[in-house]
């Protein structure tokens, strides 16, 4: 029951947080900014509209949004939000889940290619490239966590017998993981130093250019999927930064969401203070994150 409540809150609240980022950026720039609920309004607006499909597209184009949104929801089902035992869990679920997310990306890319527009092809190529690089860091993190806990599922990472925490043995290495994971978060979710969600020039876009042809409910699904993905990464970071006792149950929720908001605020701050990287520097950025984690993995040899 607790699990269902927490997942319910998560699914409903996910669109709230990107609003926080927008608000932080606006305040930083000295503007009033959009209302916090802006993303809900956007979603409602999009859902009320109809979809327009180009005559060159096939069913693949319609499949993209659905799969990516479903992937986002699915990963949250397996994730111990607020250290509440997740709804579903089995040994090895992390591998499956990261591949489900990759499937979501695959369909988005396929949908983009399906339109036959050169811009979209370009965006798809970039997304595939950076996504592949980011995967290296993610799997390095999984290897590291496996060395630390011997577990292969999100549930066991944070609610199992030897949960990951900064204060545990070799917890110091998690500092490296936190930095790396934050970098992966920025990459995977097309945030500022890697990609600029607010840009207007197609040539410089990565993620946005892929979804140019989507409209109405399709676009809403894609947006929702990306909110869940961002939410997942932020929640992952939250639990590493601030490990919660699984016995706390739903009482953990306020702390969890407090830290979560902090992480979103940090993203907003990073976006406000940093300029976007030159496209050629992005691979370096992503590689740096994976090197950090490999670094940590090597260091476990020093500890254990």
């Amino acid at each position: 029951m607790e699990s269902l409540v927490s997942i319910g809150i998560a699914l409903l609240s996910a669109p709230l947080f990107p609003g926080i980022i927008l608000k932080v950026k606006a305040l930083f720039a000295g503007k009033k900014g959009p209302p916090l609920l802006i993303k809900y309004y956007t979603l409602l607006k999009l859902l009320r509209k109809g979809s327009v499909y180009s005559s060159t597209t096939t069913f693949v184009f319609k499949l993209g949004p659905l799969v990516s949104c479903a992937g986002g929801i699915m990963i949250l089902l397996f994730f111990p939000l607020a250290a509440v035992v997740p709804v579903l869990s089995f040994h090895g679920d992390v591998l499956v889940l990261f591949y489900i997310m990759a499937t979501g990306r695959f369909f988005t890319i396929a949908a983009a290619l399906d339109t036959g527009s050169p811009f979209q092809g370009m965006g798809a190529a970039r997304e595939a490239f950076f996504g592949t690089l980011a995967e290296a860091s993610i799997f390095a993190i999984l290897i590291l966590f496996y060395r630390m806990t011997g577990a292969l599922s999100f549930g066991e990472y944070f609610t199992g017998a030897t949960p990951i925490s900064l204060t545990g043995p070799s917890g110091a290495l998690l500092l490296l993981v936190i930095v790396a994971l934050f970098m992966v978060l920025l990459t995977e979710n097309s945030r500022v130093p890697v990609d600029d969600p607010a840009t207007h020039l197609e040539l410089t876009m990565i993620h946005e250019v892929m979804i140019l042809d989507h409209s109405g409910p399709d676009l809403a699904l894609i947006e929702l999927g990306s909110f869940y993905k961002l939410y997942f990464y932020a929640a992952f970071l939250t639990l590493i930064v601030c490990p919660l006792n699984p016995a706390g149950g739903l009482l953990n929720l306020p702390i969890f969401y407090g830290v979560l908001v902090l992480i979103y605020v940090t993203i907003g701050l990073v976006e406000s203070t940093m300029a976007r990287f030159q496209m050629s520097l992005v691979p370096k950025f992503v590689l740096a994150s994976s090197i950090l984690v490999v670094f940590a993995a090597i260091l476990t040899m020093g500890f254990i």
């Binding site: 900064l166 204060t167 070799s170 917890g171 110091a172 290495l173 500092l175 490296l176 930095v179 370096k284 590689l287 740096a288 090197i291 950090l292 490999v294 670094f295 940590a296 090597i298 260091l299 040899m301 020093g302 500890f303």
Partner: protein, 217 residues
């Protein structure tokens, strides 16, 4: 307590890695400030230094001040006068440097393992950190062309050696008079290097060490 030490060391390692990857000289100096601060903070938290007297406390304060503030400020002033912002063509590229950093740390872990040192238990990581910092300092000196980066590499080497000095050696060998001397040498050294840097920039309009090729046999 042990965990805080570990965290400081991980952050030092992080700073090493960042310094290998960053091309902006100003970032490099900031990284050095953080690293210098942490390196001088670490001994205060080590257990076998816990019986430190007031002389020791004053010394470490002075050291934090020197390594964390004074030397970075000196470097910053030198940089402002030179008006060069980044290293454009390093001898070894930034990706390659990062991978080299990875290999360096792998080797340090290996070396630390092989040494079977009688270090106070739980501080094996200090040795790894120290060796990594030293080697990365060497790497910076060899892999970059700008003279100021080489000075930073030297400082990093010195930080690594200092880590070994404080971490491994028993407390009663530490005579603060002597440590002050070490610190003074380092400070004057950076000052002298800064003055030469300024002059090199004045004479050659750049601080590229490739330009220093007049004397050879």
């Amino acid at each position: 307590m042990k965990n805080i030490n570990d965290m400081i060391m991980v952050v030092i390692l992080l700073s090493v890695l960042l310094s290998l990857a960053s091309s902006r000289l100003i970032t490099l100096i900031k990284i050095m400030a953080v690293q210098g601060f942490l390196v001088s903070l670490l001994p205060l938290l080590l257990e076998h230094h816990s019986s430190m007297g007031s002389g020791g406390l004053i010394f470490f304060q002075v050291m934090i001040l020197t390594k964390g503030i004074l030397i970075p400020v000196l470097l910053y002033v030198a940089l402002k006068r030179i008006a060069i912002q980044r290293e454009i063509e390093p001898i070894i590229g930034y990706h390659a440097s990062l991978f080299a950093g990875l290999i360096i740390i792998l080797l340090s872990v290996f070396i630390t393992d092989r040494l079977h040192l009688a270090v106070p238990s739980g501080q094996e990581l200090i040795l790894t950190t120290a060796i990594t910092t030293m080697s990365a300092g060497f790497f910076l000196m060899m892999g970059r062309k700008k003279a100021i980066t080489q000075v930073i590499g030297y400082l990093m080497l010195e930080n690594g050696i200092f880590l070994i000095g404080t971490a491994l050696i028993k407390h009663f060998h530490t005579v603060y008079m002597v440590e002050f001397g070490l610190l003074l040498d380092l400070l004057v050294g950076v000052m002298v290097m800064g003055i030469i840097l300024h002059n090199i920039n004045h004479a050659f309009d750049d601080i590229d060490t490739d330009l220093l090729n007049r004397l050879k046999d």
